[in-house]
Amino acid sequence: MVELLCTENLCRSFGGVMATNRVCFSVDNQGLTSIIGPNGAGKTTFINIVTGKIGASSGKIFFKGKEITNKPTHELVKMGICRTFQINSIFENLSVFENLRIARQAKDGGSLRIFSSKQSLKTVTEKTWDLVERLGLKDLAARPAKNLAYGDQRVLEVAIAMAGDPEILFLDEPTAGMSPTETRQISKLIKGLANEICVVLVEHDMDLVMSISDRITVLQYGCTIAEGTPEEIRNNEQVREAYLGKEE
């Protein structure tokens, strides 16, 4: 069987520094894979390459067996590869509803209709309401996104990516800056998502990673140093060193 997404010796350097170094990564149709590693290990860079934000220096990326290396972002999104950002990236002056509606519209089409109203895209509106209710954002729907509390903006960040009905979703530190309660809330959301689609999670909270991941990949200096189940990673000597080394 073909993996949903895999990379072959993916590399990217920034002025001689290998931020991503010969990474071979693969995920199946659903479940939760976490990518961990110290700060600067190249986790965000890896997501940036796979989602088309930056180019690869060398190596290949395959999605459902088709090569997608260096394809433009919007095409990758249309194929079903979505992501969130480590630092919130939302449409600040648009309402929460419009933030999600535009993502849905981009997925379903109809953006070239210039003389009809937004309401004329009925399924887009309906599906957006579904998502709004599912995420409990109903009371906030009409509010400008910039007026939301940080935690709610973080949820919106994930929601925008979900609105595009991805087959694989990269989450770059979704719990960054969140309270323990908010973290629990969003981890529940992530677990639920992983039952339906493939989720790749970058996360610093080790307890969270160990408890919800199906598989874990560990990066250090751009290289994969370990790969396996949470149990295997917990007992991996090299990983311990990498993390203990950091704590010194």
Partner: protein
């Protein structure tokens, strides 16, 4: 809220007051030349409407796509020259064909320019508009044999405006061109409003808000930025066609960087992102220009002072005035 076909923030139904104001305004403008008969004001308002249309097209670009153009007047100018040249050299009576040619030609020029510009962003985009605009200005200024150079385009015929065999009058008649401008500008305004509120307009807004995220929801940002640019240039070219029919003349100064800054000021005077604000801004600008230039040759200085005052104390323009007063009253 149970109705899943409504979008929050968009109210359904009509606002009687708003419609009444629009009808009264259009009626007032439509009847003005028959009531007043003052040639000077008829011409002044015609010019206000034409520049209002140009400012509105810039508002589409800046207020809805977030792209700053320093020389949007260039596209008015190109269109005006082409319409003028067509009427002078090809057919002095084919008004519609001339306008159509002007719009198509301007679009053909704007397309590659836009193609280059959307591959840059922010300030680089803005600087390129300046570079291209100055290039067009220089071409028009120096290409004496075709454009008349410094003297401008002379010998424009006055074609009749006919529609489906009906003769609506001659463009040489100020009242006719006034009414013609009013009708065309009104149509353009309502069409643009419609486009801005369409799914397409929503894409432009998303790009303005956050280009990066827009591409990560699956929007082909460059393509839509280019379409937004083309929309703005086509509207400017319609303003250009009206301009040459109204003035019967165009010179290179209309395409100068100075005039380009003027259009930008009109938009800022009126306030970004409302469309109608651009008309208010254009009317204010042209009135100030006209009023002060009768008293002092250095009207630009006074206009500059007005703009500085506005930027400092009313950064949201005329459109934001209501909000400002509300906040002021609350203390």
């Amino acid at each position: 809220m149970n109705n899943t076909t409504t979008i929050p923030g968009i109210q359904k139904g009509y606002y009687p007051l708003k419609i009444l104001i629009i009808i009264l305004l259009l009626l007032g403008l439509g009847l003005f030349p028959f009531i007043s008969g003052n040639r000077f004001y008829i011409s002044l308002i015609t010019e206000m409407m034409i520049y209002g249309l140009l400012a509105m097209s810039l508002d589409v670009l800046l207020g809805y796509t977030g792209a700053l153009s320093f020389m949007h007047n260039a596209y008015l100018g190109i269109s005006a020259y082409v319409v003028g040249l067509f009427l002078i050299h090809i057919s002095p009576t084919s008004l519609w064909l001339a306008c159509f040619t002007g719009i198509i030609f301007t679009s053909l020029v704007a397309l590659p320019v836009g193609w280059v510009q959307v591959r840059t962003g922010g300030l680089a985009f803005a600087l390129l508009t300046l570079a291209f605009g100055m290039m067009f200005h220089t071409i028009v200024w120096k290409w004496y044999g075709v454009t008349g150079g410094d003297d401008g385009l002379m010998g424009m015929p006055n074609p009749d405006i006919s529609l489906f065999g009906w003769n609506l009058g001659n463009t040489g008649n100020p009242v006719t061109i006034y009414l013609f401008t009013l009708i065309i500008v009104t149509i353009c305004f309502f069409l643009t409003r419609r486009i801005i509120n369409s799914p397409f307009g929503a894409v432009l807004e998303a790009i303005r808000e956050n280009e990066d995220r827009a591409s990560f929801v699956g929007i082909n940002v460059r393509m839509y930025k280019l379409l937004g640019w083309m929309l703005a240039c086509i509207l400017a070219s319609i303003a250009g066609a009206l301009f040459i029919l109204y003035k019967g003349y165009i010179g290179p100064s209309t395409m100068s960087a100075f005039a380009g800054a003027g259009v930008l000021m009109m938009v800022l005077l009126g306030g970004l992102g409302s469309l109608w604000g651009a008309f208010v801004g254009a009317a204010m600008f042209i009135y100030i220009q006209d009023y002060i230039s009768t008293m002092s040759e250095h009207w630009e200085i006074y206009l500059g002072l007005v703009v500085i005052f506005l930027v400092l104390f009313l950064p949201t323009g005329f459109v934001g005035l209501g909000e400002h007063l509300k906040r002021f009253r609350k203390g």
